[in-house]
Amino acid sequence: MRRRRFIQALAAAPAAPALLAQRQAAQQAAPAPAADAVVDPAPLDFSIADEGADPVSKFFSARQFATLKRLCDLLMPAAPGSPGALEARVPEFMDFLIGDAPTQRQQLWLSGLDGLEYQSQSRFRKAFVDTDATQADTLLAPLRQAWSFEPPDDPVARLLAAAKQDVRTATFNSFERNMAAAGGKRPRGGGGLYWLAVE
């Protein structure tokens, strides 16, 4: 629901009527084609599933997913005009991504999330999802260590290093974040060169 309200707020931005007016003006200005002229259809406007549907999470357990959501929110909080990881539905996306990953990567996330929850229970006698900002920051202490190319041995530290990168990328590259950057409109253009499969 939180995301839907966010998208609805974006859709209410004044850019939408302006765009509609431009389209109407273009239609009025275009000369009428001859009756027998072949007219190429206008390019159709497609979106992606994230705009019109909700993801189905199925990899992480309910507890792991709750821990992941809290972690995502800490790593990439929302800012004014800039959706954070939760608005960008990164926990749901990570559920999909890690569910598709090789066993070793899955294990990193599973053991890391379980470890984070265990540390929270051990130190604060509460679930990670219920920790306050100070308590959570204590548990995320490995992220304040100097970065090393060698992954940490500790499962929680290892998860945090991976999550810091993946959650950040998944948020920046989300539909929601890009839509916000485009002023509430479906973002257009930009991006990188994508190589199509050649058959």
Binding site: L75, M76, G191, G192, L193, Y194
Partner: protein, 523 residues
Amino acid sequence: MAATNYDVLIIGSGASGGMAAYTLTKKGIKCLMLDAGPPVDFQNNHVTKPAWQLPYRGLGNPARLPHVIQATEYDANQWVDEKQVPYTHDPNSPFNWVRVRYVGGKSLFWSRMSFRLSDYEFKAKDYDGFGDNWPISLADLAPYYDQVEPIFRVRGRKEGLKQLPDGNFIEDTTPWSPAVQKFIGEANKRNIPVTKMRSSLGRGQLASSLNLLLPDALATGNLTIIPDAVVRDITVDTNTGRVTGANFLDRHSRREMHAKAKVVVLGASCLESTRILLNSGIANSSGALGHYLHDQFYITQSVQAVMPEVRDKTAPAGYASGGGYIPRFRNLQSKEKDFLRGYAFDFSAGSTPDAKFFPLYGKALDDALDAHRGAGFSGTCMGSVLPRFENHVRINKDVTDAWGIPVLHIQARYGSNESNMAKDAINTMAELCKACGWEVLARHDQPFPPGYSIHEVGTCRMGDSPKTSVLNKWNQSWDIKNLFVVDGSSFVTAGSQNPTMTILSLSMRASEYLAEQMRKNEL
């Protein structure tokens, strides 16, 4: 219609195969070229896509291309599918075999860094006693570098360094930025040279066989290219011992065909050429085929530093931009370190350090990244790897690819020479950064697994003796006179320079020799 009788069958269409076709067809020699991949329309085979439209949000399919560390979700389709063309290795000795199967091969996607080897490589044994010399010297190859560099339009600056011979360059007249000047000053105090990058400009979007070599070859009317032709083995006349052509399968239908020619030129890329020879059971009286696999070890972002004078947008525009190249400087005059040979760096100033380097998260991380925008300095280390007999490939008959062709088993690992070299390289770069007053955020002295540089060479090496090498000094099989191998597999020692210019030059040289031998009816 009966198949045409071709003079030369060229297997592979990348830098080496393309150059063979370019050279031979201009001399009136009828060539048939087979490539395992499809033709690619470079303009239309890619589209601009925002990352939010990608199924994995730019993070990539986590189950695809486990060995291609450099693959992104954007370019995943350009690499060979490892499930379709697998290979095996010891779990404790990973090798990242990164391949491209399109007409044009890896020359479609290479980094364009364009260097000559020096006699420190061609005559390496004379300098340090390790391994073997090449059977040729720089003087033998220089006339071919001279011809190749204008075709690829190599831009560079002449520096007069023996270890990095000058070339036939388009002069690079761009100035150094102040930050790079500061770095050069500290390097020169330590007798470390810094040069401009030497890079192929090519034409249009490409510096590839596809646009620089194959069009000219086709224009002669002497070249026929068959894409989607997956070569299984080379055929031999058991009476004469000469090669007669190659068996191949259509990539789509798997229909088996045989291509016939008077001469076979292999340019299928280092390990694919060797795989074809091993599967053919030929050209190995020396026992050296498949051995002496080496490359350059790479450590990208080996040192990541921050320039405080650029932080918080305090530096004037253009203060920190551009980059350069540090050619090998170790062990040139005498043995000075606990390793043989040396390493190179390419470096750049003015980037923004990756988020992972900052010990922060959340809003504090965003603030730090904003403050350090354009304040980064980083270097990639490229180290010479010793060619050792024990680093080798062989056929694994228990595993086949999608066309039923047995795959390679790759057995390669770096040793103490490489690890000692990497430590010295990163210590040196970190010291230079600190001398500039820059803060070192992270340093990494462990090379990525062998193969990562995509500069694998050796396994079908040249030499002075048929007892210790597969090819003579003309890239011609010692065992089979009408068989040539013109790609990176023929290398004896790679050095720390990127190999493409040398591969192109060797192929041109071998092809000119081959043409002359054909003209004299001596093949």
